[in-house]
C-alpha cells in the first residue's frame, strides 16, 4: 500500500499511525517534540499525577478518621518527589508509545513538518531540512494554550498549563484566569497542596459547559479549601513587574499580588506553520475543516484531534485518529460523537455525558430529573467522601436517558456507565432491573435512575 505520513505524535497522531500501519500501510510519523503530545507530556497524564499526589496527601490528613494515628505535623509534601512521580510516569508512557511505533514498524522522524505540495513535506530538525513524499497525510498537530492579548506568556509570572505543572516549588499564591476544566484542575491541585488560589472567571459559573448545580457544588468544595472564586469577573490589567493582577468583579476593582498567574482560557488549534494555505486546505482559527470521515477538502489529506477544534479531549482524539486512518485505508469510516464523556479531575471529581439540564430543557422543554446524593451512599461514607451526587436527565416521552452528570469521588470512573447508557440509547425502563453491586458508588446511579421514575428506594 502507498505510504502515509502522520504529522504529530499526540493521541490523535499516534493512534492514527498505529491504525494505518495495522491496515498494512507504510507509515511515517513526524513529531517535533516528544511522542505522546500534549496529553502525555503537558496535559492529561502529568496533571493527573499531580492530582494523585495532592489527593494522597489529603487522604493521609484524614488518617485519624479511619482510626490511624500519625504525627500529622510531620506529614509534608515533598515537591521533588511529586515531580519525580510525574516524570517517571510520563517517561514510561512516552517510551511505551516509542515501543508501539517500533512494534508496528512506523518510522518516527523528529522535526517540524510543513507542506510544500499536497504530496510533499519539508521536515525541519534544527538546521537540517528533509523532504518527505507520500500519497496520504494525516494532520494531528494538536493545540496550544491561548493567551491573553495584553498578557503574553512569559514563563516567569504569566504561565500556561504546560508550565504550571513543572513549577520549581509549590507556589504560595496562584491566580488562575479561566475557571474551565484546566483552571479548576489546577485550582484543586494547588489548593490541596497549600497554595492560596484565586480563580477569575468571566462566565457566571465555573465550568460553563456543565450543569450549574454541579459546578456550584465544586465551587463550594474549592472554597472550603480556601480558593477565592470570582465569577462574572474580568481581568483588566497584568503588571508582571509587580506580580500584580487587576480584575473587576461586581463593578469593584480588585488588585491581587500572586506568585504566578496561570492563564487557562482555552486552547487554539495549531493550524499555522503547516503550510496549509499553500496546498489549499480549508481552515480557520477554529481549526481545520473536515467531513465526517475526518477528511479535509484536499482528498488525500486528513486531520484529527485538537487541530480540528470541536471537543478537545484525548479520547475524542483517539477516536478521530482511528476514523481518519481507517478511512484513508479505504474503510469508509465515520466519526461517532454519540456519547462523549467529559471528565474533570478536580476534588471532588466531575464527570458527565450527554446533555446538561439546561440543554435538555432547551431541547425537550420539560424533562425528568433523577438525583441521588452520595451522602446517602454507604460506600461514600465508608471512604469518607460523602460529597456530591448523581444526576440523571430523562426525556419525558420515551424515557430516554439523555444526560448523566456526577460529582463526587470516582465520578470519572463511574461515568463509564452513563457513556454506555447514552451510547446504547437506553431508556430508563431498560435500567430498572439493573443490579448494582452493594456497597458501591454505582448504587447511586441506579438510585438516581429510579428516582427519575419516582421509584427511588433509599431517598
Amino acid at each position: 500500500m502507498k505510504p502515509l505520513v502522520v504529522i504529530g505524535g499526540g493521541p490523535a497522531g499516534y493512534v492514527a499511525a498505529i491504525t494505518a500501519a495495522r491496515q498494512g500501510k507504510q507509515v511515517t510519523l513526524i513529531e517535533q517534540k516528544d511522542l505522546g503530545g500534549t496529553c502525555l507530556n503537558e496535559g492529561c497524564m502529568p496533571t493527573k499525577s499531580l492530582l494523585a499526589s495532592a489527593e494522597a496527601y489529603e487522604k493521609i490528613k484524614q488518617a485519624e478518621q479511619f482510626g490511624i494515628t500519625l504525627p500529622l505535623e510531620q506529614v509534608k509534601i515533598n515537591w521533588d518527589g511529586v515531580q519525580h512521580h510525574k516524570t517517571t510516569i510520563v517517561k514510561k508512557l512516552v517510551q511505551g508509545i516509542g515501543y508501539l511505533m517500533k512494534k508496528n514498524k512506523i518510522k518516527v522522524m523528529k522535526g517540524e513538518a510543513s507542506f510544500l505540495t499536497n504530496h510533499r513535506l519539508a521536515v525541519q530538525n534544527e538546521n537540517q531540512v528533509e523532504e518527505v513524499e507520500a500519497e496520504q497525510f494525516i494532520i494531528a498537530s494538536g493545540s496550544e494554550p491561548a493567551s491573553l492579548p495584553f498578557a503574553p506568556f512569559d514563563g516567569k509570572w504569566i504561565i500556561h498549563s504546560g508550565q504550571a505543572m513543572s513549577l520549581p516549588a509549590i507556589p504560595s499564591s496562584l491566580l488562575i484566569v479561566g475557571g474551565g476544566v484546566i483552571g479548576c484542575e489546577f485550582a484543586s491541585i494547588y489548593s490541596q497542596m497549600g497554595a492560596k488560589v484565586t480563580i477569575v472567571e468571566a462566565a457566571d459559573q465555573l465550568l460553563p459547559g456543565e450543569d450549574a448545580d454541579i459546578a456550584f457544588t465544586l465551587q463550594e468544595e474549592l472554597e472550603k479549601k480556601g480558593v477565592a472564586i470570582y465569577t462574572s469577573a474580568s481581568l483588566t490589567e497584568m503588571q508582571p513587574e509587580y506580580k500584580t493582577a487587576l480584575f473587576k468583579h461586581k463593578e469593584e476593582l480588585h488588585e491581587l499580588q500572586v506568585d504566578y498567574a496561570l492563564i487557562s482560557i482555552g486552547r487554539k488549534p495549531r493550524v499555522l506553520g503547516l503550510g496549509l494555505e499553500k496546498i489549499g486546505v480549508h481552515f480557520s482559527k477554529q481549526g481545520i475543516d473536515v467531513n465526517e470521515h475526518m477528511q479535509t477538502n484536499v482528498p488525500n489529506i486528513y486531520a484529527c484531534g485538537d487541530v480540528v477544534g470541536g471537543i478537545q479531549l484525548a479520547h475524542v482524539a483517539f477516536h478521530e485518529g482511528t476514523v481518519a486512518a481507517l478511512d484513508a485505508c479505504g474503510k469508509d469510516k465515520n466519526v461517532n460523537y454519540r456519547a462523549v464523556p467529559r471528565c474533570i479531575y478536580t476534588h471532588p471529581e466531575i464527570a458527565s455525558v450527554g446533555m446538561t439540564e439546561k440543554q435538555a430543557r432547551q431541547e425537550y422543554g420539560d424533562v425528568r430529573i433523577g438525583e441521588f446524593s452520595f451522602t446517602a451512599n454507604g460506600k461514600a461514607m465508608i471512604t469518607n467522601e460523602p460529597i456530591g451526587k448523581v444526576k440523571v436527565i430523562v426525556e419525558p416521552q420515551f424515557n430516554e436517558i439523555i444526560g448523566l452528570s456526577i460529582i463526587g469521588s470516582h465520578a470519572t470512573e463511574l461515568i463509564g456507565q452513563g457513556t454506555v447508557m447514552l451510547h446504547g440509547e437506553l431508556t430508563t425502563d431498560v435500567m430498572e432491573d439493573f443490579i448494582a453491586a452493594h456497597p458501591t458508588l454505582s448504587e447511586a446511579i441506579h438510585e438516581a435512575l429510579l428516582h427519575s421514575a419516582g421509584q427511588a428506594v433509599h431517598s
Binding site: 465515520n334 454519540r338 416521552q397 420515551f398 430516554e400 446504547g424 440509547e425 437506553l426 431508556t427 425502563d429 431498560v430
Partner: protein
C-alpha cells in the same frame, strides 16, 4: 387475552399485503366490527374489522409496507393488558395460535404465516429507537441501521421520520423554483400492480383500436320488457351490461381467434370463455372473472356478474376470481365517455370498451327515428389478428346487440 389481527391471505397467489391506512392508533378503543385498517394486496383493497371489543394495544405494521399474509398487524385487547414477549414474537412463529383473522369471509382459509425475512426479534435496534419507531408506526424491519453492525439508532429512525414528513409535505425546493405545488403519492399496492401491468401491456403488444356503434333501441325495450319478470323469478336485475356480456360471449364462440392469448411467441386459442369485466373500485380497479361464461344463460351470467361485483366492492373477491380471463370488457359508459382506447389486459388478445348510450335521430328507410346507440371500442393485439377479422368480431357483437332476441336463446 389480546387478539392478534393478521394480514389475511386473499387467495393462494397472494404474497404480500399492505396496510394502506390505519383508521386507529395505539390506545384507541374499538368495538367489535369497527373498521381498524384498510389493506390492499396486489389485487384488491379491503377493510379490516376489529375482532373483539377492546383497545388497540400495539400496531406492528406501518402503512405502505408490504408484509406476507399471516403477519400480525396489530393486537386488540384490554386497556391494561400487557403483551407478553411470547405474543410479540408470534410473528416469527408459524400459524399463531390465537390468531383472529380479520373478520371477513375469505375464499380460502389463511395459510401458515411465512416468516418475514428479518424478524423483529433479530433486528438490532437501540431501545429508544425501538420506542420511537413503535410510537410512529414505523416497521423496524424496513429501517436501515447505521450503528455498529447495522444497529438501528435513534438518528436512523429520525431520518425515516423526516423523510416521511418531507414526502408528505411539499418540497420546499419546488416551491422555491416555481409557484406550482406538487404532491407525491407512493405507488404501492394495487396502484403499483396496475401501473406495472398497463405499462407492460403497451410495451409488449401491438395494440390497435377500432370503433363501431350498435343500435340498442330494441335491446333497451326488450330489457324493459323482461327485467321485472326476471327479477321476480331469479332475483336478478338485468342490465345493459349483462346483455353486452352475453353478446360478447356468443361472438367469441364464433371468432375463436379473439378468445386467445399471445404468450411466448405463440397464440393460445381457448375453448372456454372466462369473461373478464373491469370494475372500478374507490382506489383502483379489478377485473372480475366469470368462469365458463359460455355455459351460462343470460340470466345466469347476469347473476354471476352481480355477485362478483358485490364481492369485489366489499373486498371479498378471491384471487381465483380475478385471474385467468380470456377476454375483457371495460365500461366507461357511466362516466359519459363515448369512444376510448381500452388497454389490453395481458396476455389477452382483445378488450371491448363500452361507452354511454346516446339517443340520436337515425333514418330508418326514409323515416327519421329516435334511436339509442351504443359506442363500442375494440382494442386487439395486431400480432394475433388483423383489422378485418377484428372488425368482423365487433360486427358480430353489434349484430347480437341489434337482434337482442338471439341473446335470450
Amino acid at each position: 387475552m389480546a387478539a392478534e389481527v393478521v394480514m389475511p391471505k386473499l387467495g393462494l397467489a397472494m404474497k404480500e399485503g399492505t396496510v394502506s391506512t390505519w383508521n386507529k392508533k395505539v390506545g384507541d378503543s374499538v368495538s367489535k366490527g369497527d373498521m381498524i385498517a384498510s389493506i390492499n394486496s396486489e389485487k384488491i383493497e379491503m377493510e379490516i374489522e376489529a375482532p373483539q371489543d377492546g383497545v388497540i394495544l400495539d400496531i406492528l405494521v406501518q402503512e405502505d409496507v408490504g408484509v406476507p399474509p399471516g403477519t400480525i398487524i396489530c393486537y386488540v385487547g384490554n386497556p391494561n393488558e400487557q403483551l407478553t414477549e411470547q405474543s410479540r414474537s408470534a410473528n416469527e412463529l408459524q400459524a399463531p395460535k390465537n390468531e383472529v383473522a380479520a373478520t371477513i369471509s375469505l375464499e380460502e382459509p389463511p395459510v401458515n404465516a411465512t416468516p418475514s425475512k428479518k424478524s423483529k426479534e433479530t433486528v438490532r435496534i437501540s431501545p429508544i429507537a425501538k420506542k420511537i419507531a413503535e410510537s410512529e408506526n414505523i416497521n423496524i424491519e424496513t429501517i436501515k441501521g447505521t450503528g455498529p453492525k447495522g444497529r438501528i439508532t435513534k438518528a436512523d429512525v429520525e431520518k425515516v421520520l423526516t423523510e416521511r414528513a418531507s414526502e408528505a409535505s411539499y418540497s420546499p425546493s419546488e416551491i422555491d423554483t416555481s409557484s406550482i405545488k406538487k404532491e407525491t403519492l407512493p405507488v404501492a399496492g394495487m396502484r403499483k400492480v396496475i401501473a406495472g401491468r398497463m405499462h407492460n401491456s403497451l410495451l409488449n403488444s401491438a395494440q390497435l383500436t377500432i370503433n363501431m356503434k350498435a343500435d340498442v333501441t330494441d335491446l333497451l325495450s326488450l330489457q324493459r320488457e323482461i327485467k321485472d319478470v326476471i327479477h321476480q323469478r331469479h332475483e336478478v336485475k338485468i342490465s345493459l351490461t349483462d346483455f353486452i356480456a352475453r353478446a360478447v360471449v356468443l361472438s367469441l364462440q364464433e371468432h375463436k381467434q379473439m378468445n386467445s392469448a399471445y404468450m411466448d411467441n405463440e397464440i393460445h386459442l381457448y375453448h372456454h370463455i372466462h369473461l373478464g369485466m373491469a370494475v372500478a373500485l374507490e382506489n383502483g380497479l379489478v377485473v372480475l372473472v366469470m368462469q365458463h361464461a359460455e355455459k351460462m344463460s343470460l340470466v345466469e351470467l347476469a347473476a354471476e356478474i352481480k355477485t362478483r361485483a358485490a364481492d369485489a366492492r366489499q373486498g371479498q373477491l378471491g384471487t381465483d376470481r380475478m385471474q385467468g380471463s380470456t377476454f375483457t370488457i371495460t365500461n366507461l359508459g357511466a362516466y359519459g365517455v363515448e369512444y376510448f382506447t381500452p388497454v389490453l389486459n395481458p396476455p389477452e388478445t382483445g378488450i371491448l370498451g363500452v361507452g354511454a348510450t346516446e339517443d340520436v335521430p337515425i333514418y330508418k328507410g326514409d323515416e327519421l327515428q329516435r334511436r339509442s346507440v351504443l359506442p363500442l371500442s375494440l382494442t386487439f393485439d395486431h400480432r394475433v389478428l388483423d383489422g378485418a377479422p377484428a372488425a368482423n368480431f365487433l360486427g358480430t357483437i353489434k349484430q347480437y346487440l341489434e337482434q337482442p332476441i338471439l341473446l335470450l336463446l
